[in-house]
């Protein structure tokens, strides 16, 4: 049986029925990780020994009738900012190249308890972009190549997680987002990625960038798979009964949208209008992005103060990363507190928005995957109010594929829910994927 490209749900059923062996499944994906993963710079480390141990244990338990649930025997990758006992946890950055922890991050412990099999640590942008970065190559592992076009980047900072799921090197991966780091790679790579509500998933054992904005979430082929994984790494219950949805189509999410994306987004909107109540909606205007950026900058400078103070930021790969921390370290306490007071105002405005609708929807990004050489600072400077608001307020969101451009690159549509309402974003994404086939496409040549 060819298990490559199966959804978590589908593969889990075959494993439960003992139609496939977890050990053979793990070996298949480890082999792909070695062959294809290396070519894409997708993995920081393959955890072969651990994977086979966990797979053998799963096989033994299932044979003995002890079935743990939908992730039992399912292989996955974890972003390399999550501690995995005994293996390197590099945070994608040269100063931490030899860092190891003697414990697992909470999310990896939860997945272990669910019977999942850790294949390896997914490559990432150095320090999740915490010191700033100008190029997609800003990683100890090198730039992650996009499986849809290897001259293009996967986006970051969960760059390896995006490549791994897209290239079918694992049925799912764990990513993290402070601002854009799950949604963007999911859109660039043509996969489904869920950013949970802030604090939904424990951050214990994860690298801290922004204490009040970091989130950990699943990236997979389908929204349904994201729901399954989230239910295993948090207290979130999934699936839930279907519900009628009121969707707010965000009119001011992006200022300039590429023509190909415009067309695909219009088609996606037509699908939504045919299947749910959709109304146009406008995001409130205010200095939300500046306040969110101030928060990340200051919290990041605090999280990495010893790296900045020691001067070892000079060992980072990216020219902006070498100096960004110094700039961020000079932002005043008064400005930081002002940003948090603005966050209070914003939360009230956001609560008001969600009295009219269950989810907000918009294109995930106004552009498709860019080349590895693109200067992100000068060539891709655009406002992202929905991402800024969503991340600053800790709102859940999901990006799912919404089509492909004439050059064969994926586009995405995102759904954003109110605080704590992953149910709504998953319901919207599941609805969309029940009416479209884009999530079933796989990259040629992998």
């Amino acid at each position: 049986m060819n298990v490559v490209g199966m959804s978590v749900r589908e593969l889990g059923e075959h494993i439960r029925k003992r139609e496939v062996s977890p050990v053979e499944v793990a070996e298949t994906f480890l082999d792909r990780g070695e062959r294809i993963g290396a070519k894409l710079n997708a993995y920081a480390t393959l955890t072969r020994e651990r994977a086979l141990t966990e797979a053998r244990e799963a096989e033994k338990e299932i044979a003995a009738g002890k079935y743990r649930g939908p992730l039992h025997g399912i292989p996955y990758a974890a972003k390399d900012l999550l501690a995995a006992k005994g293996y390197p946890t590099t945070w994608g950055a040269r100063p931490y190249a030899n860092q190891r922890f003697d414990f697992d991050a909470a999310v990896i412990r939860r997945l272990h308890d669910a019977g999942a099999v850790l294949l390896g640590k997914a490559a990432m942008i150095e320090l999740a972009g915490g010191m700033g970065y100008r190029y997609g190559t800003a990683s100890l592992q090198g730039g992650a190549k996009n499986p849809w076009n290897e001259t293009c980047w996967t986006c970051g900072s969960s760059s390896g997680s995006g490549a791994i799921v897209s290239a079918m090197l694992a049925p799912f991966a764990i990513g993290t987002e402070t601002w854009g780091s799950i949604i963007c790679p999911s859109a660039y790579c043509g996969i489904s990625g869920l950013r949970p509500t802030f604090d939904r998933v424990s951050r214990e054992g994860a690298m801290a960038l922004s204490y009040s904005m970091d989130k950990i979430g699943p990236m997979a082929r389908t929204a349904d798979d994201c729901g399954i994984v989230l239910s295993q790494i948090s207290s979130f219950k999934y699936p839930r009964p279907t519900r009628a949805l009121r969707i707010g189509w965000v009119m001011n999410a992006w200022k300039d949208v590429q023509p190909d994306i415009q067309k695909l987004t219009a088609d996606a909107l037509a699908v939504l209008r045919a299947n749910a109540k959709v109304e146009d909606i406008a995001l409130p205007e205010g200095p939300w992005e500046v306040a969110a950026g101030t928060t990340i900058s200051v919290e990041g400078a605090s999280a990495f103060d010893s790296l900045i103070e020691s001067g070892r930021v000079a060992e980072l790969t990216d020219p902006l990363g070498k100096i960004g921390g110094y700039v961020n370290a000079t932002i005043s306490g008064a400005d930081y507190v002002r940003a948090q007071r603005i966050r209070t105002i914003l939360r009230k405005k956001v609560d008001e928005l969600f009295t009219h609708v269950d989810v907000l929807a918009a294109a995930s990004l106004p552009v498709v995957a860019t080349t590895m050489e693109t200067n992100l600072e000068t060539d891709l400077a655009f406002s992202d109010p929905l991402g800024g608001i969503g991340n600053f307020c800790g709102l859940p969101a999901i990006s799912v594929p919404s089509g492909f451009t004439s050059k064969g690159l994926p586009a995405g549509i995102q759904f954003v829910g109110k605080f704590g309402d992953e149910d709504a974003v998953l319901a919207a994404a599941n609805l969309f994927q029940s009416r479209t086939q884009w999530h079933l496409r796989t990259p040629p040549g992998v």
Binding site: G180, T294, G311, I331, R338, I342, T344, S383
Partner: protein, 84 residues
Amino acid sequence: MKVTRRDFFVTTAVAGVAQALPAAQEALQPAPEASARYDWIMGKWGTRFTDEQKSEIRRLLNDNEKGLASMRAYALTNDVEPAR
């Protein structure tokens, strides 16, 4: 108030909020706060940087200051507490 620009991929997000002016013009008109912050960095860590990096830091601080100024201009009453 309208935010006009952000470097989507650059998490030194404040640096990218304001519309950048041409480099030469920026060099002539640094914000006083940005100059003070630049002097503080150079006083503490100045020997670590190349001339090119010093110039970049000055530019980032100027951009950063414009973003912060937009945030400071947002009206808040005394009873608005910081979010927790």
